[in-house]
């Protein structure tokens, strides 16, 4: 029995709301759990702990350091990742429509629109807190604030200014400490030294596993599926700090067959991918295109030190090369393109994402100067109604013909 298919069927017939909150369904599904992949088992535990309220629940934004959440004994519920998951099941449109009926404009990021649709349709568990960063996404913290109002729970916002200079880091560390203390008071649970050691230790092991994947991505031909790497972005950010983190990435690495078939093109991917069923990756595969890396699954942070947890987490936040002047992003992209021996770059410009589309032209110009061809592919990661496949195919084919 395929657990994913079962969950999808229940989401489609509308009975999922009840089922998601039923202890019996988790007991039943657990019978089939052993044979499932680590990512399915992780998702199962996350859903069970959140919907049955086995642990306090924190709604988190994508870049929020989940190590703090796990250290506090909470379960993170990453709304943007959940939106991508729902979209991948082909279930995005009813939730997007619900949000649009409630005045959430189609110009807003569809990850947040879908998240709001899920909240309005009562598909989300009741959170205890909402945790978000101002990091990168301008719409994100407003969306999370709105969610916290809807569920009548506190919203903790970490403001991430500048590009990680000493004063910026000190400011973020102070906020992380204050947030940690307030959460400890709210949950009546102090983080012990061993909690930090576990959480940051798992995150460090996850980091080591990711570095091994990056090594494989540099191989010619590239054995790592770019579609899978982009699909794992949400998992990487959600399981950091959990015992699942290293296990998940290790299982991914072991599933990679090192003898890859030959490749015609090597491309580096920027931003995210369409998560709904779309022919794009099958088409790229048919043309012999390897996606040898992407911006977000290549987000790597310095080793975290349990003796200085907040400073470590601040360094992790600032390891995001999308922060600060666009030069940071360009320099890192050029470095990765060279390391991975990529012939060109595809920038998937997600509609509604101001931080990504806003810099697209500067990025294209800078890459052109370095002799790296760049295709700006306008589209939407979550909303399938925005896909014009014929146009997209012509753009991709035209770009490959240039290469």
């Amino acid at each position: 029995m395929n657990l994913g298919n079962f969950v999808q069927a229940k989401l489609q017939d509308g009975s999922a709301i009840r089922l998601l909150r039923s202890p019996w369904i988790y007991r039943f599904l657990s019978l089939f759990l052993r044979s499932q992949s680590p990512s399915v088992r992780f998702s199962f535990h996350l859903a069970r702990d959140a919907y049955l309220k086995r642990k306090p629940v924190a709604f988190t934004s994508l870049f929020f350091p989940t190590e703090l959440v796990y250290a506090l004994g909470m379960v993170p519920f990453p709304l943007e990742v959940i939106a991508a998951l729902i979209s991948s099941m082909g279930m995005a449109v009813p939730f997007l429509k619900k949000a649009e009926e409630e005045w959430y404009s189609q110009d807003l990021c569809s990850f947040h629109r879908l998240g709001m649709g899920l909240a309005l349709q009562d598909y989300l568990p009741q959170p205890d807190v909402v945790l978000s960063l101002t990091s990168l996404c301008d719409g994100s913290h407003r969306f999370f604030y709105n969610v916290s109002r809807l569920f009548k729970v506190p919203h903790f916002l970490i403001e991430v200014p500048g590009n990680g200079g000493k004063k910026d880091q000190e400011y973020v560390v102070r906020q992380l400490k204050r947030t940690r203390m307030e959460l400890e008071a709210l949950l009546e649970r102090k983080i012990k030294k061993s909690d930090w050691e576990d959480s940051l230790g798992y995150s460090n092991s996850l980091r080591e596993e990711l570095l091994k994947i990056y090594e494989l991505q540099a191989h010619v031909p590239c054995p790592v599926s770019g579609e899978a790497a982009l699909g794992n972005v949400g998992l990487i950010f959600t399981c950091a700090g959990s015992r699942w983190g290293p296990e998940l990435i290790s299982a991914w690495r072991k599933s990679i067959r090192e003898n890859a078939s030959s490749e015609n093109y090597r491309l580096f991917w920027l931003h995210l991918r369409p998560y709904y069923p779309a022919p794009i990756f099958a088409f790229l595969k048919e043309r012999g295109v390897s996606i040898v890396g992407d911006e977000l699954s290549n987000y790597i942070w310095p080793r975290l030190d349990p003796k200085n947890p907040e400073l470590s987490l601040s360094s992790k936040i600032y390891a995001n090369f999308g922060l600060g002047p666009i030069k940071n992003r360009i320099d890192n992209i050029v470095r990765l393109v060279r390391e991975r021996k990529a012939q060109g770059v595809v920038n998937f410009s997600h509609r509604g994402c101001r931080q990504s589309t806003g810099g697209a032209f500067l990025l294209k110009e800078a890459l052109k100067e370095k002799g790296i061809p760049c295709l700006i592919l306008d589209g939407d990661c979550v909303d399938p109604r925005e896909l014009n496949w014929e146009q997209m195919r012509t753009r991709i084919e035209g770009f490959l013909e240039i290469l």
């Binding site: 306008d378 014929e390 012509t394 753009r395 013909e401 240039i402």
Partner: protein, 256 residues
């Protein structure tokens, strides 16, 4: 002697050409209609009949245009971006920027020695395409070509602010109803198209000489408006609507 075939199955028109020894043997245009595979088959048959040859004599067939995947008998498919570039390099090798205005999309292409260096396509919206022009012309009960001619008679222009085809149509209907000079409204329509295309050209960086291909390049009003907007003269090949098919046939010849 071998014959090479280029088929450009566009959204509105299907164009085909046979080349023998680098010279056109026969060429023709069909409306694409609702069944692109059937149209492609009929177009190919018409080319064979017109060229008085059998299909065995055709060594290579290259299909391009939006319907390129609907040509199962094609040896190879190539995008219209590359085919228009190859076609224009044959007729106007000096061109560095190519504007291709087709039925349902528009493209600006940067060329270097006939090779595509970069390109920009319209996105999401039909404004600035042949279809936009058709919809606007219908409001005047004119053909797109006649609308273009009408716009050339205007000394001033009425500004069309909407860029969406549907909203622009209601704006134009309103302007006609208010009794504003028809030629000035027509010129406003041409300028609206030109502004959108110029935006794409500037994104690539305008480099002269500029050439134009695609069916809309036959419209004198659009060409004039684009020249005004870009501040350059635009080179138009003799049969701009055939450039994609020419390019496909030339690529077929090189591929063989």
């Amino acid at each position: 002697m071998s014959v090479y075939c280029g088929l450009d199955i566009g959204s509105l028109q299907a164009k085909g050409i046979l080349l023998r020894d680098g010279h056109p043997l026969f060429r023709t245009i069909f409306p694409t209609g609702g069944n692109a595979p059937e149209t492609a088959k009929k177009l190919f048959q018409a080319l064979l009949e017109g060229g008085e040859i059998s299909s065995d004599e055709v060594k290579t067939i290259v299909a391009t245009g939006y319907g390129r995947i609907s040509v199962p008998f094609a040896t190879k498919t190539v995008t219209e971006i590359t085919c228009h570039a190859r076609g224009i390099a044959h007729f106007l090798p000096q061109a560095k920027t190519l504007i291709d205005l087709g039925g349902q999309d528009s493209k600006a292409i940067r060329l270097e020695k006939g090779k595509v260096m970069d390109f920009v396509m319209n996105d999401k919206c039909a404004a600035g395409t042949g279809r936009f022009l058709e919809v606007m012309a219908q409001n005047f009960k004119l053909t797109p070509w006649e609308l273009g001619e009408l716009s050339l008679q205007a000394k001033n222009e009425v500004s069309i602010s909407a860029t969406c085809t549907v909203f622009a149509e209601s704006e134009v209907i309103g302007l006609i109803a208010r009794g504003l000079p028809r030629e000035e409204i027509a010129r406003g329509i041409m300028s609206a198209i030109a502004q959108r295309i110029a935006g794409m050209v500037h994104r690539l960086g305008l480099e002269e000489p500029v050439a134009m291909s695609g069916g809309v390049a036959q419209n004198p009003g659009v060409v004039k408006a684009l020249e005004r907007e870009l501040g350059v003269s635009i080179l138009i090949p003799e049969e701009p609507q055939m450039i994609g098919a020419w390019g496909a046939a030339l690529i077929a010849q090189e591929y063989a």
